[in-house]
């Protein structure tokens, strides 16, 4: 069963992630009154990148990007076979650190600045991520994803504040405006391409692919708030995931990018108020 789940995740996640990226670009184009690229454009881009030569700037960059890719996949597998949520959070952070190191290793100011900003982003969202894991534990009595998914009532009943907080940091994780300060999927940014500036060809393709896996994993976490013992709760969870993603796309297109300090302040404020208050009430009630 576990093997099957891993295989399903490894095969399906890129398709789902790519399609979502296509929907995102289409909606973005419509916002600007354009027709936009075909829905499958992200896949064309990915194949193109795999076909291209990659200009390797140093010996360790490929290694770091490979580490990023493998750890994202590892994290996703761990989550979807029902592993420990805390371990999922830490493994995801480790993956992110690999990407940051890849950017750091290149001798380019843009990519170095991108990795510094990535560090700030991690500083901003990490508390909320851990708080969410703790919230799940207090609400359901377990850190294991499979136990949480088998609880009697959906965890969101106990964790509405956490859900809001998680949606908030999802904007950072998805690299959406207003919080896409380290790199952005929109062309022409203030720092060229930030963290991915020095990556090219098939190495860049690997990063793109990892991002799709990561997106699906994060949406899985959104889904975890909704699922319970009933089978139909999974359908609702899928619908909520889709809505959450489209909501992020809207936010992306409606808000201008903020400076790093407002990102940090606002995220920590949301973490403290939405997450903290939720946690306090939960410990009193439970």
């Amino acid at each position: 069963m576990g093997i099957l789940k891993i295989a399903l995740y490894l095969i399906l996640a890129p398709f789902i992630g790519g399609l979502l990226a296509g929907i995102d670009r289409k909606i973005g184009a419509r916002f600007q009154g354009r027709q936009g690229p075909p829905l499958l454009q992200p896949f064309y881009d990915l194949f193109k990148l795999f076909e291209k030569q990659s200009l390797v700037v140093n010996g360790v960059q490929d290694f770091f990007v490979g580490g990023y890719f493998i750890f994202v996949l590892f994290t996703g597998c761990l989550f979807f076979i029902g592993g420990d949520l805390l371990l999922v959070c830490f493994a995801l952070t480790l993956a992110e650190v690999f990407l940051m190191m890849a950017a750091c290793s290149a001798n380019s100011p843009y990519s170095a600045m991108g990795s510094q900003r990535e560090l700030l982003q991690m500083m901003a969202y990490e508390p909320m991520l851990l708080l969410t894991a703790i919230g799940f534990y207090i609400a359901t009595g377990s850190f294991m994803v499979e136990d949480i998914a088998r609880s009697n009532v959906s965890p969101i009943v106990y964790l509405p504040g956490m859900f809001f907080g998680f949606l908030y940091i999802l904007t950072i994780k998805f690299r959406k405006s207003p919080f896409d300060i380290s790199t952005s999927h929109h062309a022409h940014q203030e720092m060229v391409k930030g963290i991915t500036t020095e990556l090219s060809g098939n190495i860049l393709a690997l990063v793109e692919l990892a991002v799709w896996y990561e997106d699906v994993l994060l949406l899985g976490m959104i889904g975890l708030f909704i699922v319970n013992m009933k089978w139909w709760s999974f359908l609702i969870a899928a619908a909520v995931c889709l809505i959450a993603y489209i909501l992020e796309t809207f936010v992306d297109n409606l808000f201008p990018r903020v400076k790093w300090d407002s990102m940090l302040k606002s995220t920590w404020l949301v973490t403290l108020v939405a997450g903290g208050v939720n946690l306090l009430i939960l410990t009193l009630v439970r």
Binding site: P37, Q41, V192
Partner: protein
């Protein structure tokens, strides 16, 4: 899967009068919307497939153009937009102008006009993507790309 389905552009302004640049940017607006064909205007040579240059080469930007060209991964195509980029155009006689883009790097597609119309720029890009596929096929067949031969 063809490379031509996802051509990413790098746009560089040599010593253009800005007329051609505005036309290039016009291609990305709702009226022409080149993103329909998957074209993305990246600002990063390492992500680009097509090098779009407007304006001629002068003694200051010649190294920059060479540098940008060498940073692009193969296969790549160079498109000279506007008559200035093709052979110097109206600025040809200026003391600082060396000539068209082909004085420093090999140009594949010449788009004429002063300023080049968005329609002809798109036409040039379409020709460029066809060439990209050809170059990719040649690379697969084991031929060294022209850009690597000079070194």
């Amino acid at each position: 899967m063809n490379i031509s389905k996802s051509p990413w552009l790098l746009h560089y302004d040599g010593s253009s009068c800005n007329g051609c640049d505005i036309e290039v940017l016009a291609c990305t607006t709702p009226v022409y919307d080149v993103e329909r064909f998957g074209v993305v205007n990246t600002g990063n040579p390492k992500h680009a497939d097509i090098f779009l240059i407007t304006g001629g080469i002068n003694s200051q930007n010649r190294e920059v153009v060479k540098q940008l060209y060498s940073q692009m991964p193969d296969p790549k195509v160079v498109v000279a937009v506007g008559i200035c980029a093709c052979d110097g155009g109206i600025f040809k006689e200026c003391y600082n102008i060396l000539g068209g883009v082909d004085t420093v790097i090999p140009v594949d597609i010449y788009v004429p006009g002063c300023a080049a119309k968005p329609e002809s720029i798109i036409d040039g890009v379409v020709k460029a993507v066809a060439l990209l596929d050809k170059k990719r096929a040649a690379m697969k067949a084991g031929k060294t790309p022209a850009s690597q031969k000079e070194e």
